[in-house]
Amino acid sequence: MADALLSVRNLSVQFTTYGQTNPVLKGVSLDVPARSQIALVGESGSGKTVTMRAIMGLLRSPPAKVTSGEIFYDGRDLLTMPDRERLKLRGTAMSMVFQDPMSSLNPVFTIADQMGTILKYADRRLGRSRSGRERMARVHEVLGQVRMRDPERVARSYPIMLSGGMRQRVLIAMALLSEPKLLIADEPGTALDVTTQAQILKLLKDLVEERGLALLMITHNLGVVRETSNYVYVMNKGVVVEHRPTAELFEAPRDDYTKALISAVPRLTGGTSFGNAGAAA
């Protein structure tokens, strides 16, 4: 998959804290072709979040240091391109859907203000310009796309005035503002109740398919993997231990760790049931 939209090649990252250096990623490779739905699954501490942050360019250095590898987006290595070029991609061509709707929105600014600001600077980086009125029109349009019934009212609201599910949809709308080609979703909806999470995942999947976006879903939840992806990478202790089409993985997991992960999913009945959250949707 050399022509993938996003291609991580042999990425190694180490963290230095309190004088100790620990390798966190040990040669991770993964591919996200255009219009594909890929899941990256692993338990806490497996390195999936560090992988995501490295892709987005959000690692802080120090303590983090990329020791080897490349991250290609559209054939260009993100790690060696000038900061200016990389900033042009962040939040525009590749965008992130944040995990926690309760804490990922600034509590003292309206949704319109926050989305307008994101759009304003995204436009500026891309050398576009839009009037304030045009920006608001775009904000309302995107809020409508995430199925808000009254986009104008939502835009005028402060986060505290919205429910958790609505806030999560605002976070999705923020990621969609500049029409990205790649969405990286960090366990969206984990903080919500299961029915709302199922709706959010359904919405995300619909949006990705409607617009032909590529989706990289970072999660520890096998139910989410099953619902939202057709190809899956399993990570453990900083390496990818197994990667296969999603359906195959659930039928016949090969790696011992994957087997352990699948058998760790709590079951409600005597039969086999993988995951819980997305399954109902």
Binding site: S104, N106, V108, I118, R125
Partner: protein
Amino acid sequence: MEFLLFLFRRILWSILVLVGLSIVIFAIARVVPGDPARMALGPTATAQQVADLQEKLGLNKPIVEQYGMFIAGLSRGDLGRSLLTERPVNDDIRDTFAATFELVLATITLAFVLGVPLGVAAARWKDKWPDTLVRVLAIFSAVTPSFFAALLLQILAGYVLHILPTTGRLPHNMEFVAGITGLLTVDSLLAGRLDVFGEALRHLLLPATALALATMGQIARITRSSMIDVASQDYIEASRAFGVPEPIRVFKYMLRPSFVPPLTILGLEFASLIGNAFVVELVFAWPGMAAYGIRTILQKDLNAVMGVVMVSGVFFVLVNLLIDVLVGFVDPRVRIRGSR
């Protein structure tokens, strides 16, 4: 709507607080040993003269009746006569309050305008040299007694460098009568007298700086810790991932949610400075109410003491009400929920 209700409740509470304050202060003033009549008349007065003055002041009446008289006067806006200056307390306070108010206003402005940027810089370069510098500065300014800072500034700027005046509000030879606000800087501008404005500002600078140091340190520290706390919030990381530039992140997304703690501190400091400015007022011969309050306390000038305390109390309540409104303006959560 919720917020208005919240403010209304706060006003009701404030009135209760003021009533409580009046009772406590009244009781304390009566319990403290020493006879106000004797102190006013001096050691040479006869027993008969002292008794006459006691009669005149109502000091021989039951304490509850005395309190009743005080409240009756207060409700008419009459604070009685001062034994010390032999003038109505109302006049004394009117003349001195504006001076203290102007001083404290300048102090607070200085503390805020310097303290907040220092705190922001310290938070932005946490654990780097600007942070260390600000923290050392904040500790030093917080532990330096204001009279010491006042004397130091007076010696340095007044006697060594000869760049700033060291006493009073205006030069002796300058003719200017304060207008409606009583604040010389404001009144001089209203009257179009730029020369007076300049002098008033020059006279204000040293005492305000001496008084501002401690508050500035406080505000810098609070702003710093508040900013650092907000910096680690998910929404700041999110704005980074969406490519919002750093100046906007720091000065908009981080600063505004960080503003509530320094504002609250500011309100408390503002109000307490009204009473605590006396050391600096004495050093700089500033004709303010704090210094007047101290003189009347030492003289057991009961009416004046009560007047000063009540005016300070009302001021305290008003300033904190204003701060509540400002906090509601800065943080919509307060406005919407109606409380913190």
